[in-house]
Symmetry: C2
Subunit: 322 residues, 2 copies
DNA sequence: ATGAAAGCGCTAACAA
DNA sequence: TTGTTAGCGCTTTCAT
């Protein structure tokens, strides 16, 4: 593969001039610059990133470490991060931690070693590995789940869960169950807390917690059905799939036999009949804001951490009409 | 951030020994190695990736460039690639080309510049930028869509589309429409071709082509409805969402008023009523095989290109019962 | 405006 | 087994 030296020889200039020309420095003669560019073209020259990054001590790449690539909520965040980053000249590489702290740690190390310009992270838990990022001085912004002493973009999950539950109460449901995510995951805990906030004895507490996945939803729903709830608050869209499957098996129809509201406005929620009442989170905006915070922090590393809290809104649909 | 020099000083050895110890070379005294490791730990040492990659002239990273992160088919491929790559000690960074040749080109350049060990690519079209990868000698494997003179993992889309259409014919439908993906995209063209293969005059050709997205499906379906089809073959799951929406608007019930079969067994396809007949593609296996091919090519760069064709299978469900 | 040369942090010959 | 040293390809002073 051609190096800067080859280009310099072909263009009959020094490597310094090649570097300057290709990086658009103003101090280079237009004619020379042109000669350099065509030489580079002819050789199919691609600057050696590692060498450049080593010398510059920085890269134009963000790492985005999310807990589940197969969850539309996170892919929507990815789109938001990407759009904003691209505009500012950064590329985004996506790493899937798969809700697995070990994989998260691996990817944080990769990000650190590759000296990425910044990291957007949806933390899988207490994540001791964050400490390394901090020590390395790499800018980090947490999304969806909090991370102390760090820029963050969060959603007011608790309030959203409370409102969703109040919506169920207002619709006349009296035995409202909650299918929550795994204990210890902040969004999961918050949603359960919001559910409790709303009850005030107007419904018994019927809670089950499980993994943020379809199988988790399935298990929790099977189990909770024993308590014969007349409505269900489900903590995310992957779980909702499992819950709806179980309901169908049991011959229970959403909206008629049992009210259902779930977090995340996944693309399929309007296809089912009746369509699913959801709590829509501004996923794309979360990503965009995270990228903005990262850019701001790069520009001003000493700035105190900023926490952005975005709202979620209920979209009432058929599954909660009594 | 600590460098190898700092570690060497703290451990009282040379940088060479540090490098050897940390990379697990056998030729280093266990006691020394231990001293080095604890020194590295104490300093929170993270090897400088750019420097290492520059020197080694290789990285342990694969780039996976897919055309749409929000499409479950591609995220499933991502999982397959990742699982296999991780096992072999490689990390995978995911780049979203968004069906946009310009973004694809950008990410190919990034991959090239960062000197990744290999690229898995779902090409967005003729992709002239592949030429650069080839010139750079970077191993590439194409997934889902063909790429000349290159390892490839494909699905026999044409056959699958033919079988799906035959299934519709066997079910007694006589005006079978085809909602195809964008012309020029190979999988899209193949699926339309398979549809035609099956017809033999047993149904008029009712074809519409659009983007591989929900809006594309919506447009094409609205348009095609004018030809009053009694069944529909839909080219992917994102389009299927749009198609089903339009059907619902028009008061047409899948499986009763109009038969529907779509490519991709998305998670929601069993939730709708009746559930959706689909052509299931082995997405995860596609990814895993792609990663295997990449590893094989790295081990043996001169080996002639291998093309793996995987099968897809029809899963008949309620939406095609007459 | 251009070139010469130093050096980013690491690994791999080569010596010892 | 360990250390010394050259150099990977680039950018950036410092001269000119």
């Amino acid at each position: 593969m051609a190096t800067i030296n080859d280009v310099a020889h072909l263009a009959g200039v020094s490597t310094a001039t090649v570097s300057r020309a290709l990086n658009g420095k103003s101090t280079v003669d237009p004619a020379l610059a042109e000669r350099v560019r065509s030489a580079a073209d002819e050789l199919g020259y691609q600057p050696n990133g590692p060498a450049r990054n080593l010398r510059r001590r920085e890269t134009a790449v963000f790492a985005l470490i999310i807990s589940d690539v197969e969850n539309p909520f996170f892919t929507a965040i990815a789109r938001g991060v990407e759009d904003t980053a691209q505009t500012a000249g950064y590329s985004v590489v996506l790493c899937n931690s798969d809700e697995n702290p070990e994989k998260e740690r691996r990817y944080i190390d990769v990000a650190l070693q590759e000296r990425v310009a910044g990291v957007v992270l949806s933390p899988t838990g207490a994540s001791p590995s964050i400490e390394r990022l901090r020590r390395g001085g790499t800018p980090v912004v947490a999304v969806d789940r909090p991370l102390i002493a760090c820029d963050q973009v969060l959603v007011d999950s608790r309030r959203a869960a409370r409102e969703a539950t109040e919506h169920l109460i207002a619709a006349g449901y009296t035995r409202i169950g909650c299918i929550g995510g795994p204990p210890g995951v902040r969004t999961a805990d918050d949603r359960v807390a919001g559910y409790r906030d709303a009850l005030h004895g107007r419904s018994p507490r019927l809670e089950r917690r499980a993994e943020y996945r379809t199988t988790g939803g399935r298990q929790a729903a099977r189990d909770l059905l024993a308590d014969s709830p007349d409505a269900l608050l489900v903590a995310n869209s992957s779980m909702a799939i499992g819950v709806l499957e179980v309901l169908a098996e049991a011959g229970l129809r959403p909206g008629r036999d049992v009210g259902v509201v779930a977090f995340d406005d996944a693309p399929w929620t309007t296809l089912i009949n009746p369509s699913l009442t959801v709590v829509a989170q501004p996923a794309r905006e979360i990503g965009a804001e995270a990228a903005r915070l990262l850019l701001a922090r790069i520009a001003e590393p000493a700035h105190p951490p900023v926490v952005t809290i975005l709202g979620a809104h209920l979209i009432p649909r058929g599954s909660t009409r009594h």
